[in-house]
């Protein structure tokens, strides 16, 4: 990819940031590419060193706090006209519930994502509980005069649950780790969306 192509694409996708910030970033990357070319690299090589535009955007999303992205997005580009203010105030009963619904939907999404993890913990807890109960039943039955043979199935069940709990424990660990990663990914996704919103015109 040529330098101009790269910078143009970057500019077209960086619309979610303040204009001064975009200009500054573009000239920063341009200087970086130029300095590499001065060192003897070809234009393509120099651009390659920087990475793809999408990688750059993802990196910027990671490093810009969500709050400042939203704040910039929400800030009106110009002073609101009188009738617009009136509309916003009158429309409050309409847009406020919609806004709340949006937040609730995102929140529910998170809950749903984590439900899998919660369920797996519930199963793990039941397995451990069953293991102890089986053991308890075995000893209670034995001391009650039931003999070993009659109560052996309880011991068996207890051992099975013990094994299950160990194996399922690994599954729980994996699911939790996966969920944490997915949650982080979602945040970066939301932020990238703010930065490159104009991309979908």
């Amino acid at each position: 990819m040529k330098k101009k192509e790269f910078l143009d694409e970057l500019r077209s996708k960086l619309v979610g940031l303040p204009q001064a910030d975009i200009d500054e970033r573009i000239s920063f990357y341009e200087e970086m590419i130029n300095d590499r070319m001065d060192e003897g690299k070809s234009e393509e090589e120099a651009v390659n060193d920087i990475g793809t535009v999408d990688e750059v955007i993802k990196q910027i999303a990671k490093e810009t706090p969500l709050v400042s992205l939203v704040r910039h997005k929400m800030k009106p580009k110009r002073r609101l006209r009188g009738w617009e203010v009136v509309l916003i105030v009158l429309g409050f009963p309409l847009w406020f519930p919609l806004l709340i619904t949006g937040f609730v939907l995102i929140f529910v999404g998170f809950i749903l994502m984590w439900t899998g993890a919660i369920v797996s913990y519930a199963v793990e807890t039941s397995l451990i509980a069953a293991c102890f109960m089986g053991l308890l039943s075995f000893f209670l039955g034995y001391f009650d005069g039931g003999g070993i043979t009659a109560n052996l199935p309880y011991l068996g069940i207890s051992m099975m649950c013990f094994g299950g709990a160990i194996m399922f424990g690994f599954a729980c660990y994996g699911i939790t780790k996966g969920m944490a990663k997915a949650t982080r990914g979602m945040f970066i996704g939301i932020k990238s969306w703010f930065i490159r919103k104009g991309d979908r015109k």
Binding site: R25, S27, F28, E31, M32, D38, I50, G51, V56, E63
Partner: protein, 104 residues
């Protein structure tokens, strides 16, 4: 490494790279390369943060027919390096205390 800790360390690394003479983006990346791999976007964020907190100032100068941005450390920036070194002396003492504790 803990994100907060890493951020502090990276800031001081970049300050150290411009401590002796004014430098520019690509040179900072090259100078730091032997000790850490820094991406352009990360460097940009660090430089911006250091400028906002008055640890460095920038100037634009012409170089071979184009403009290049140079970064110069301020007295606040130099102070930050000294503070960092002192903080690490304390941390190293704690570290050796922990090490001794484990040998017993």
């Amino acid at each position: 490494m803990d994100a907060q800790l890493k951020r502090g360390v990276l800031d001081v690394c970049v300050l150290a790279a411009i401590k002796n003479e004014d430098s520019y983006g690509y040179k900072i990346i090259k100078d730091l390369k032997p000790i850490l791999e820094l991406s352009e976007s990360t460097l940009y964020t660090i430089l911006k943060r250091l400028e906002d907190s008055h640890m460095l100032i920038t100037r634009t100068a012409e170089y071979e027919g184009r403009l290049r941005k140079y970064y110069r450390i301020t007295s606040t920036g130099r102070q930050r390096i000294e503070d960092f070194k002192n903080e690490w002396k304390e941390i190293m003492e704690i570290y050796s205390f922990i090490e001794r504790g484990e040998q017993v």
